[in-house]
Symmetry: C2
Subunit: 236 residues, 2 copies
């Protein structure tokens, strides 16, 4: 019988991961070894190993003699992100369609059901986490050890970007989000049919939608104020 109770180390690892993905721990936040080890009930030695692991996966940055910080998100990273994401994710879905195994497809379908559920009555946090899990599974399906490191790194910032831009502020955004869920369905169908080309195309579409959503946020429509009397001061 395999151990059912997860070790404090695993708990800590998972907790930090999700806290970072959901922006509960914001980019650049300081991670103090002493307080964290106290919080999770383990000594500093294993905690440091957790931080080292998170650093290797891109969740945190380590600075010599100056502790760990949640990895930063700048505007340049946003640009780099959309350069890399379509290519990597296209390749992942292509391979996923070729190599997916039955149980994995079941897992994906179930996760998609959870995603729709989260869209209806879940928090932004829950949506981002389930969506993240959905894409993780496609990565497992592809099963290419050389593509996974970058893919996993992309997923981290994908979740964090989602947390910033995913909340439906208005009806337009709400439609956008439900469109994303429909794309997930089409992705599942392509994978189940083993249609690699279709899957790759859907990956590109998925990112175009995501990019569009963010462009709307970064470049909002004008405020539609009438030209005329220039304001003397800030109008309450």
């Amino acid at each position: 019988m395999p151990d059912s109770t997860p070790s404090p180390k695993d708990t800590c690892y998972q907790a930090l991961k999700t806290a970072i993905l959901t922006l509960e721990l914001q980019p650049g936040a300081d991670l103090d070894e002493a307080s964290l080890s106290a919080e999770f009930g383990l000594s500093r030695t294993p905690l440091r190993e957790v931080l080292r692991r998170l650093a290797g996966e891109g969740y945190v940055d380590l600075r010599l003699n100056r502790g760990a910080r949640v990895s930063e998100m700048s505007h340049t990273t946003l640009r780099d992100f959309f350069l890399a994401a379509p290519m990597i994710y296209g390749a992942i879905l292509q391979l996923a369609a070729q190599n997916a195994r039955g149980p994995q497809i079941e897992d994906l379908k179930q996760t998609q059901a959870r995603f729709r559920e989260a869209l209806r009555k879940g928090s932004a946090r829950e949506r981002a986490l389930v969506n993240n899990r959905f894409h993780e599974i496609t990565g497992e399906m592809a099963g290419n050890v050389y593509l996974l490191p970058s893919f996993r790194r992309l997923l981290i910032d994908h979740a964090r970007i989602s947390m910033t831009f995913y909340r439906p502020r208005d009806d337009d955004m709400a439609r956008n989000v439900s469109e994303a869920a429909d794309q997930h369905d089409r992705i599942i169908a392509a994978i189940e049919a083993g249609d690699a080309d279709k899957a790759a195309t859907l990956a590109i579409d998925h990112w175009n939608l995501s990019r569009h959503r963010i462009e709307l946020f970064v470049m909002p429509g004008g405020l539609d104020l009438p030209l005329g009397a220039p304001p003397r001061a800030a109008t309450a």
Copy 2:
């Protein structure tokens, strides 16, 4: 004045890295914490952090309660490698051509000079390491945090594959290797000219050459034996 003497930890990290890249530590080899910490003159705590870091970068695999091993290389990894490498390296060189800065180009040229030197009178080990450094620099030039994890992972096995297949066993291989050096020159030229398309194309070529070299090894030409008397047993 910055510390000129590298810490034992860094020394250990670098030594393990190069030992793995050059196959001095073979894939699957056990890494014992006690003996390693003794060898490099540090205690087990920092040594374990080094191993964790190497694991995050793909040099070693960690197994719970059962120590670290040099990461494996199987035939499936060889296939996955050639699926991922052209795409990733193509993207890296494309971005390198767009973003390379002056000092980096100088660094690349100097490394290429060292590579040619190693081809003339260096060991297989030295060739693989300098070649590895050459490609590392192109990765630095590209400077995309999302592509680098996969790229670095590829470089590890690229070096190890090179160590297996790079030694010029015959004249044909020797020509092959010198062709690789010429490709490096063309890559430098494309980067210096800022020609992204050209750079991407050269990346594909570079991997085709590499794949060809390995196919020759894995699938050697027939032994050219005359059909006729079937052998009764293994012929000495």
